[in-house]
């Protein structure tokens, strides 16, 4: 082999080495595997216990808005909210989690986030109705805690209730009742139209025990519903399960 050939051969090897090393450097530089120092641990997130709520956006909690999913104050952004599965009634579902939120005013704000998140993820009448209830409860909690209910929350609760009627008029939710009438002793599920529950919550203080969203004479509630385009024939005792909401013609 001549000197020229040896030099050329060495040059080729050098070129190879440089290229392979460059390649390896690129590979190593690119190794961006997440490690334990990155990210935020969210396994133990304290739920908010106050009653002051800044709305994520104007329509938060109203179908079809989903801005609650982008609200950094929402503790449930990364929580799997599992809908009730009629084919697997025993499976873990959203009601178990919702029921674990502390009762009373200290859980009211968390419940708004919870149900608004559920609504944003799965828009249905049930989630809309529970969101409206949560706003309603938060409004009441504010009054309980501070003696003053935020009119923005009050208005949002009304808008959420109206969304039930406007967007999910025919939807129902299920309750369980009366295990004593079932030979097996298991509770018996029954459905209730959400439009009735919505009107009842607005019309009758006793139905929720919370402060009225439409203060004063219940007739004002009927007027409001009429403004929204609905006629409400209030439920009567003792069961208050015979109210009728109808859509006004024209």
């Amino acid at each position: 082999m001549s000197n020229r050939q040896i030099r050329q051969s060495n040059a080729g090897v050098n070129k190879l080495l440089v290229t392979v090393l460059g390649c390896a450097t690129l590979l190593i530089a690119g190794c961006n595997e997440p490690d334990n120092n990155e990210g935020v641990v969210i396994s133990s997130t304290p739920l908010p216990v106050d009653t002051i709520l800044n709305l994520s956006c104007e329509d938060v909690g109203i179908f079809t808005e989903t801005c609650v999913l982008d609200d950094p104050a929402n503790p449930f952004i990364d929580t799997a909210i599992v809908e009730f599965d009629v084919n697997n009634e025993d499976a873990f579902n959203k009601f178990e989690l919702a029921n674990a939120i502390p009762a009373g005013p200290e859980g009211a704000k968390a419940r708004v986030y919870f149900w608004a998140t559920a609504l944003a993820r799965r828009p249905n009448g049930e989630n809309q109705w529970y969101t409206a209830r949560a706003f309603h409860e938060l409004y009441d909690a504010q009054i309980q805690v501070t003696g003053f209910g935020d009119p923005i929350i009050q208005a949002q609760a009304l808008r959420a209730y109206r969304s039930v009627l406007d967007n999910f008029f025919g939807s129902v939710t299920f309750f369980e009742c009366c295990g004593n009438i079932n030979p097996s002793g298991d509770p018996v599920p029954f459905s209730v139209p959400l439009n009735e529950l919505t009107a009842d919550h607005l019309y009758r203080t006793e139905s929720t025990g919370w402060a009225r969203l439409v203060p004063g004479d219940p007739l004002l509630t009927q007027s409001l519903l009429a403004e929204w385009g609905y006629t409400y024939q209030p439920a009567t005792g003792p069961n208050f399960d015979n109210g009728i909401v109808s859509v006004n013609e024209g």
Binding site: G22, G30, N32, V41, T45, P46
Partner: protein, 1059 residues
């Protein structure tokens, strides 16, 4: 001064003696067992003698390639009857034009050499290519023949001499010619030669070439002393080496493209070689690239003048006297020459190289040689015999006049006067009239009908339950009719295209066993709302619409050719990936499975492409459209590729989604989020056989700051961590080193891809089933080595991959004491920036063993079933893959809501395997058998319910007499035939198919021939089958039988069923 080696003088003298001896025996004419062909020289020059008589070669380069075919077409595999029809047609026309010899690239079987000689008086040059376009050496296909390699030389010598042995006594053989411009194909590399100064490298290689030729010719003369030996050289390159190294050469053969004349060629040959000269190729193309039109006159003028010069240079005319004739390139246009595998049924007008000698259309800096327009006849349509006709051009008529003259018997002044007196105007008019008539017959320029097909079928189907309950009344019957009509258009010379209309009659209801193109025409039930009137209650009614969408555009493509670029539009026509064009990360998916798309009436691919071909645009491609490959979001893709020096190529690609598609791929294939990616790639040839490919990718930058969750475990406790996508997560790198090892070709590859550094569809070659993926969030290594032992190939490959993060588990959220543990959900690619799916931890190994004695028909080519010409070839593939972790959730497209839905749970950890074999057996040219066997255990591609199952399958096809086709399969516990079957983990206990058809025309093509057939499908069902078919155990099986008739009149056939 003439320079003649003593060896050559002896040789010439010896041959003259032999001719005298043969003549003395009185053996003359065609009755000879073999013709004695010799060269003769005296002071007047050289002659070629056949049985002692002057023979001035008036030849053409002949081949037969129908429209729609390319170099893989093999006329000699057709029936004798059809071959005879082709030969009688072509050689009849040749004989009429006074052609007396042909040269052919294809090796014409001896009996047909004799046939055209005896029937038409035309002799044949036997032209072994001697590795010009690659060769199988030691059982391994070598694409660039290394003439310096001892084994290669021995192989080529042996094989070529066998050819000479075979043809030496075949009546009709004129002489032997070796190679084809082989001096232009000295492309192999070796250290020894690469170390020479650049200018000497090719000369060094040429020495190997010519010394090899001489060895063959010298030995060939011993075998076939009655036939001259020649070579097919590219012009006169290396003439000094030829003189030095080829003393056995009898006739210098050369392909010469010097324009209207041959300049000083005669003198050079005379002075340096003193040999007779035959042109194995020369001529002129009939397309004027400057005026962008067929130009018969210029071609004819060039050919006339070229022949006139040759005649003047023939024996006895007072000049060099060394011209013994020539072969015009070529007899008939070949429509495959440009691009070779594309646009095979259209005559491309692209000029692919430049030659200033062709003054009628040469423009400095522009190409003017149109590869598909060199025929002295144009490629016409098929006649009633199925033979593609030859429409004589003006050149044919001019040469007919020229060839009626004999440069030996006519005086020089006489033949010159005769040639000068040829009435070019009259013959030009004749050619133009033929052209106009042909165009009128074939196409009306602006819009013309090119062919079509018609399929009619009658279906009977039933289920076990229906038959049980209703007896014969449980059977359903339905007819179906479908037609395809193909049209072309060419409103201007640089704009051309085609489209196909599909027309439905009845639509046979084959579902669920077979889902087929045409289901758009199924009746649709609609509710008709009634206007209320007064107090009367009027109920809505329903009705079936049965006549909707009876006609649709099936496909469309058009090309506008400009100087620097071509603009293509494409709508449901095949398009290829860019894997060999620098697309290291597979951003451009291949879209060739049109039959698969047709099932769902998808019209992908759809878009436009600008392809730069000259100037600054060379190397640039821009593609844009609503679905440039199946399932693609509306996007724009840009690619630029070029070279850096001799050894490095590079490419940059950017892909940008401009919207998100709102339909699934197929029935349930999930849509993809709108995204973008940019890649850069280089490939460097490091040393001989060793190359290094490097690539980088930046992808999904729109996902930066998107949150995702993961579970981290340390010290026995787990916690849910919320993290965000960073810029680094969009980056990926990949390197692949290929190098020779153990006599084979090995590769090692490593890649790292950030969490969202998603590429596209990786290139898969040689039948691999290794679970490659384009998804990011992985670190991956793979390696393999392709080993060749004779006709055997062993190809072991391994793949090791770790996902950068684990898939999520479904952990229930909880709230305890006002503290929320949000739990964890499996990710999916809709709600999360990434998901661990096919990119999960993987350890896979596979081995493919292949036996294929005919490397020129690659076993793993997509159409090998059709092309494979080995008597027996097969492979065995074994693959074993461990998935030690589960996946996140796959998704499917849920049509009722128009959005993706996640399965909600991932696939479990699993070990899977698959063994398969494909066998091709061609006992003779009248029979072909193909078998595909497979067994294994496979996992769903979506729904984990039901787990993985073992399966076995056997599929086969027999083609007898190129007329009877029997195909079928038997499958046990296998997925159904459609993608959604595996996506939803749907299997059947048994699946059977039997299909028999008889081809009724001479095309002998299973898909394109007119045919009649009957097909039966059967599937048994169980709880793993679709609920609607299993019917909670009420039904055991489904079956159907279809009788079908396909009439193809030269157009698009119905999509092949995927059953």
């Amino acid at each position: 001064m003439r320079k003649l080696s003593s060896l050559r003088r002896v040789s010439c003298f010896g041959r003259r003696l032999m001719v005298v001896a043969v003549m003395g025996l009185g053996l003359t004419g065609h009755a000879l067992a073999t013709d004695v062909v010799t060269t003769y020289e005296d002071e007047n020059g050289w002659k070629l003698l056949v049985n002692g008589e002057d023979f001035y070669i008036k030849g053409v380069v002949w081949g037969y390639t129908p429209r729609g075919e390319n170099y893989t077409y093999n006329l000699w595999g057709e029936s004798d009857d059809f071959i005879r029809k082709v030969l009688d047609y072509d050689f009849g026309l040749m004989k009429e034009a006074n052609v007396n010899a042909i040269r052919s690239f294809a090796m014409i079987p001896p009996k047909w050499v004799t046939y055209v000689y005896e029937e038409h008086g035309i002799m044949t040059v036997i032209n072994p290519l001697v590795g010009r376009y690659g060769y199988t050496v030691g059982g391994k296909w070598i694409p660039r023949t290394d003439y310096s390699d001892p084994l290669t030389r021995a192989t080529l010598i042996k094989d070529t001499l066998e050819i000479i042995e075979t043809y030496k006594d075949v009546p009709g053989v004129l002489m032997f010619a070796l190679g084809n411009e082989s001096n232009y194909g000295l492309e192999w590399s070796s250290f020894e030669i690469e170390n020479l100064p650049e200018g000497e490298q090719h000369a060094a290689k040429a020495r190997y070439l010519y010394s090899l030729f001489n060895e063959i010719m010298a030995a060939g003369k011993q075998i076939a002393p009655t036939k001259p030996q020649s070579i097919v050289n590219g012009d006169l390159q290396y003439i000094d080496l030829i003189d030095e190294l080829c003393p056995a050469l009898d006739v210098l053969g050369s392909n010469v493209y010097r324009g209207r004349g041959f300049t000083n060629l005669w003198e050079q040959v005379d002075q340096k070689l003193d040999l007779p000269v035959v042109f194995y190729e020369f001529g002129a193309d009939a397309f004027n690239s400057r005026e962008f039109r067929e130009d018969q006159r210029s071609q004819a003028i060039f050919l006339r003048d070229q022949w006139q010069e040759m005649y003047n240079k023939a024996y006895g005319n007072g000049e060099e006297g060394n011209s013994i004739g020539a072969f015009v390139f070529e007899w008939r246009d070949e429509w495959w020459k440009y691009l070779q595998v594309e646009n095979l049924d259209q005559q491309d007008t692209n000029a692919s190289w430049a030659n200033g000698g062709y003054t009628y259309d040469h423009v400095e800096g522009q190409n003017n040689m149109n590869e598909e327009w060199w025929g002295i006849t144009a490629l016409g349509t098929a006649n009633r015999d199925g033979v593609f006709t030859a429409r004589p051009r003006m050149a044919y008529d001019v040469l007919k006049e020229v060839w009626s003259l004999d440069p030996y018997t006519h005086k020089k002044t006489a033949f010159n006067q005769a040639i000068n007196n040829i009435d070019m105007d009259l013959l030009g008019l004749k050619g133009e009239v033929r052209q106009l008539r042909s165009e009128a017959d074939e196409k009306q320029k602006i819009l013309f009908f090119t062919g079509g097909s018609l399929r009619a079928e009658y279906l009977t189907k039933g289920t076990e339950r229906e038959l049980d309950e209703r007896g014969e009344n449980g059977l359903e019957f339905s007819p179906g009719e479908m037609a395809f009509l193909d049209f072309g258009f060419q409103p201007t010379d640089n704009l051309e295209g085609q489209f196909t209309l599909n027309i439905l009659g009845d639509v046979a209801d084959k579902e669920p066993l077979e889902i087929a193109y045409g289901r758009r025409g199924f009746p649709v039930a609609v509710v008709i709302e009634q206007e209320p009137g007064g107090d009367e209650v009027i109920l809505n009614t329903t009705a079936d619409i049965t006549d909707r969408e009876r006609i649709e555009f099936y496909d469309f493509s058009a090309t506008y050719r400009a100087k620097d670029f071509d603009l293509h539009t494409f709508y449901h026509v095949p398009r290829f990936h860019w894997g060999y064009e620098g697309d290291f990360f597979g951003l451009m998916w291949e879209a060739t499975d049109l039959d698969g798309m047709d099932i769902w009436n998808s019209k992908a691919p759809e878009g436009i492409e600008i392809e730069g071909k000259d100037g600054w645009m060379k190397g640039l491609k821009v593609v844009a459209g609503p679905e440039v490959y199946w399932g693609a979001n509306p996007k724009v893709m840009l690619k630029y590729e070029n070279r850096l020096g001799k050894r490095t190529e590079y490419a940059v690609i950017h892909s940008e989604d401009i919207a998100r598609r709102d339909e699934g791929t197929g029935s349930t294939g999930a849509t993809q989020r709108q995204s973008r990616a940019t890649t850069i790639y280089t490939k460097t040839q490091l040393t001989e056989g060793m190359s290094l490919e490097l690539g980088g990718i930046i992808a999904s930058s729109e996902k930066i700051d998107d949150p995702y969750t993961r579970l981290e475990t340390s010290g026995g406790s787990s916690q849910v961590v919320l993290d965000e996508i960073d810029f680094e997560d969009t980056l990926g790198f990949k390197a692949k080193l290929s190098f020779p090892m153990l006599g084979g070709l090995a590769y090692v590859s490593a890649s790292h891809a950030g969490l969202v550094a998603d590429g596209g569809n990786p290139l898969r070659e040689f039948g691999t089933r290794l679970p490659y993926t384009g998804l990011g969030a992985k670190r991956e290594y793979d390696a393999g080595i392709m080993l060749n032992y004779g006709y055997w190939m062993l190809f072991p490959r391994v793949l090791y991959r770790d996902a950068l993060v684990d898939p999520n588990l479904n952990l229930e959220p909880s709230i305890v004491g006002g503290v929320l543990n949000p739990g964890l959900s499996v990710r999916n690619r809709e709600s999360d920036p990434f998901a661990i799916l096919g990119n999960r931890d993987t350890r896979a190994a596979e081995l493919f063993i292949t036996y294929d004695p005919t490397g020129a028909t690659p076993f793993y080519q997509w159409d090998n079933d059709y092309r494979e010409d080995a008597k027996f070839a097969f492979n065995i593939g074994l693959n074993y893959t461990e998935y030690p972790t589960p996946t996140d959730s796959y998704q499917f497209f849920f049509e009722p809501t128009g959005v993706n839905a996640a399965f909600g749970v991932g696939l479990p950890a699993e070990d899977i395997w698959e063994a398969s074999s494909r066998i091709v057996y061609n006992p003779n040219n009248q029979a072909k058998f193909i078998f595909n066997l497979a067994a294994g255990k496979l996992q769903s591609t979506g729904d984990p319910n039901g787990g993985s199952r073992d399966f076995q399958s056997l599929a086969g096809m027999a083609v007898l007499n190129k007329k009877h086709i029997l195909s079928g399969y038997i499958k046990k516990d296998a997925f159904g035939p459609y993608d959604f079957h595996r996506q939803f983990n749907i299997t059947y206990p048994e699946q059977y198919k039997l299909d028999y058809s008889i081809l009724l025309d001479s095309k002998r093509d299973q898909k394109n021939s007119t045919q009649v057939g009957v097909k039966t499908l059967y599937r048994s069902v169980d709880e793993n089958s679709p609920g609607g078919e299993f019917e909670d155990g009420e039904n055991d099986y489904l079956f159907q039988t279809t009788v079908y008739f396909l009439y193809n009149f030269g157009g698009t056939p119905p999509p092949a069923p995927r059953d």
